[in-house]
């Protein structure tokens, strides 16, 4: 055989194999779902756990929905909006996914929502991102979010900090992007209304690492710190705050004292005990649904955290919503996915924390849990539930007028120095 015929022969074999494979794939229909999370950057640990959560929802159905095989196509970003859009674009335009689940972080969510408007044939379901603006400002008709947003996650905490913890004056350290803005608004809307003062705001760059100078600038005459940092940023801040001799009690954002942070490898986490925080879930919710979710997570992911992190949870519910609605329409994605989207809108999603429904902007209404960090008998740190607010809507349970008067959270909104 000459070299040329060998090449030709090789090409023919390749083509033949490809045809056979394609035929096999058609025998059992598949539904392609894109999954995007951050496996790099400050939320790498969270992204990895988010992937686990989404996989758990797929595993619960044995990898099939309405008789179709579920094919997950994964991609990664690094919490930056442009990277998230590029990865989404790759999944949608190159891999031709029909449903898209992701991204993880706040500003990414806004960027992907904008992109979704240019792809009306694909349904986008959020992953873990929690910026208010994603569904509140110029919502996209094919973008759905079954997790509550960063502002909703903090409802009740401002009141708890002021009235139960008796913190009157606080200083703020938060990352400078959309999600912490929402979180801080959720907290301060109540805290300021109750009469509290936030005298110092430090907005730091995401992934900043070295906070020593930010710490040096914190005022000494406050009762506590509100720390809205996530992942490695939170760990870095906490250890450096201790290194610098800081001793103020802390109130955390929803991802400040998440499992990713509680489980960091090192001994300095003792100082986290007693830290109050709030979020859409907590490690110690006392219902059979939640306990089953935790048990399933543990059984499926030996390398995972001692219990699912917030990102595992939100990716789980969003993926579950995607699949439940797909089941409801028997896998029918025809007509620009019209029926499927109606099913998503009408979904009363059964989640480990209770029922979640969507509002007119396709944004979730669900419960919020106020927690405090406690140490279990086995030495494992967990968030103990101290209070539950059963239904929180995107207007932070304020009236429409009150919410609109305040406006969206930003560096300067709300303000009560």
């Amino acid at each position: 055989m000459t070299k040329r015929t060998a090449k030709l022969f090789g090409a023919l074999t390749g083509a033949a194999i490809a045809t056979v494979l394609a035929a096999a794939a058609q025998a059992q229909e598949t539904v392609k779902i894109g999954l995007l999370a951050t496996l790099e950057g400050p939320f790498a640990a969270g992204g990895q756990d988010g992937m686990r959560g989404a996989e758990l929802a797929v595993k619960e159905r044995g990898g099939t929905v309405a008789g179709k095989k579920i094919e997950l196509v994964k991609a990664s970003s690094d919490a930056k909006p442009d990277v998230a859009v590029n990865s989404t674009r790759k999944l949608v335009e190159q891999d031709k996914v029909q449903i898209m689940v992701g991204p993880l972080s706040g500003s990414e969510g806004i960027a992907v929502k904008e992109y979704s408007k240019s792809q009306p044939g694909v349904t986008f379901i959020n992953g873990g991102s929690g910026a208010q603006a994603t569904t509140l400002l110029n919502p996209s008709p094919n973008f759905f979010r079954f997790n509550t947003d960063g502002g909703q996650w903090m409802v009740g905490l401002g009141d708890y900090a002021y009235n139960t913890k008796k913190f009157k004056k606080m200083a703020l350290v938060a990352e400078d992007y959309a999600f912490p803005y929402s979180q801080v608004q959720g907290f301060m809307a109540e805290f300021c209304k109750a009469g509290g003062k936030v005298t110092h705001k430090a907005w730091v760059p995401l992934g900043g690492k070295d906070y020593s100078s930010v710490i040096a600038k914190l005022p000494q005459d406050v009762d506590a710190l509100l720390v809205v940092l996530g992942g490695s940023d939170a760990v870095n801040f906490l250890s450096q705050y201790e290194q610098a001799g800081g001793d103020k009690p802390m109130v955390g954002g929803s991802i400040t004292v998440d499992q990713t942070v509680l489980n960091f490898k090192g001994k300095r986490r003792e100082s986290l005990l007693g830290t109050a925080a709030a979020g859409p879930m907590a490690d110690s919710i006392d219902t059979p649904e939640w306990k089953k979710f935790v048990a399933d997570y543990k059984a499926n992911f030996k390398d995972g955290f001692p219990s699912p992190s917030l990102f595992a949870f939100v990716y789980y519910i969003n993926m579950k919503a995607a699949l439940d609605a797909l089941e409801a329409v028997k896998g029918d994605l025809s007509g620009n996915q019209e029926k499927y989207r109606e099913a998503l809108k009408a979904l009363k999603l059964k989640t480990p924390v209770g029922e979640i429904t969507l509002d007119e902007n396709r944004q979730a209404i669900g419960p919020t849990f106020i927690t405090e960090v406690a140490k279990g008998p086995d030495g494992v740190f967990f968030n103990k539930v101290v209070k539950t607010i059963p239904k929180v809507d995107q207007k932070l349970n304020l009236s429409k007028e009150e919410f609109e008067k305040m406006g969206l959270g930003s560096r300067d909104v709300p303000n009560c120095p």
Partner: protein
Amino acid sequence: MTIVRRWYWAWIGGLIIAALAVWGIVDNQRLFLVTTLNGLTLAALYFLVASGFTLVFGLLRNVNLAHGSLYLLGAYVGWVVGELTGSWFVAVAAGFLFAALMGLVLQVGVFRFMQGDDLRQTMATIGLSIIAADVALWIWGGQIYQFDPPSWITGTTALPLVGKFSTYRLVLLATAVVIGIGLWAFLAYTRVGMMIRAGVDDRGMLSASGVNVQMVFAITFAIGAGLAGFAGVVGGTALSIAPGEDTRYLLASLVVVIVGGMGSVAGAALGAVLIGVAEQFGLAYAPTYGIVFTFVIMALVLAFRPQGILGRRT
């Protein structure tokens, strides 16, 4: 004439900075001093990473874009060894040795076959850094790791004027100074150091005079990589280690050596101080826009002295 004009601008810039510094001291003396010290300690860390980078570049003309991976892998291996032995010092040594070994393997197994081929080397190092990052994610996961240094260096030390300051950061600063002096002495007074300097100046001549250039290259690469691994453990103790640190420190090293001058160890020290201090002052005095400072410095250097402050034209 152009030189006079350049100095004229330098004087004006210097005056503005001096005025700002005076305002900073008068406004809040403690904050100013703490920020300066923070900047210097961050610079110490940057110097440790960048010195290896610049050493390798100076001799091999090889922009090793996998330098950040050596930092991260050294840190992870150091952490594992530290957990096993319970000793932080062993962890530091392990980080250095492992990264040095990796460097040796890279030089002997990869770069020797593409000498003088800049583009291929760059592509190969980018490829390797992506593989290394994925392998690290696979082995160590996305968790955040922190070291347990001995207790006598973890607390705070009271300094005159500054007050309480993290002891560990002071140790970090001292370590970097010692390493810097050691590196200088090594280059200036030892035989191998002499060969390295000769190689920087003229590789062909060095080879012609009977020196085994490949061995000099291998030693340099091992030291440069080892310094990255060393910095991984030492820096991971001050901050933390997690996926993504590799590109972060690669970028920091690049900025530092571009500012200081490619191939110059003294330049790396100067660049590190400029960048570290600028970053910390940015965080303390202009948190939102502070990140720009670093790149303003880089842009200015590239505009007025493209070879870097202490760099030589090649």
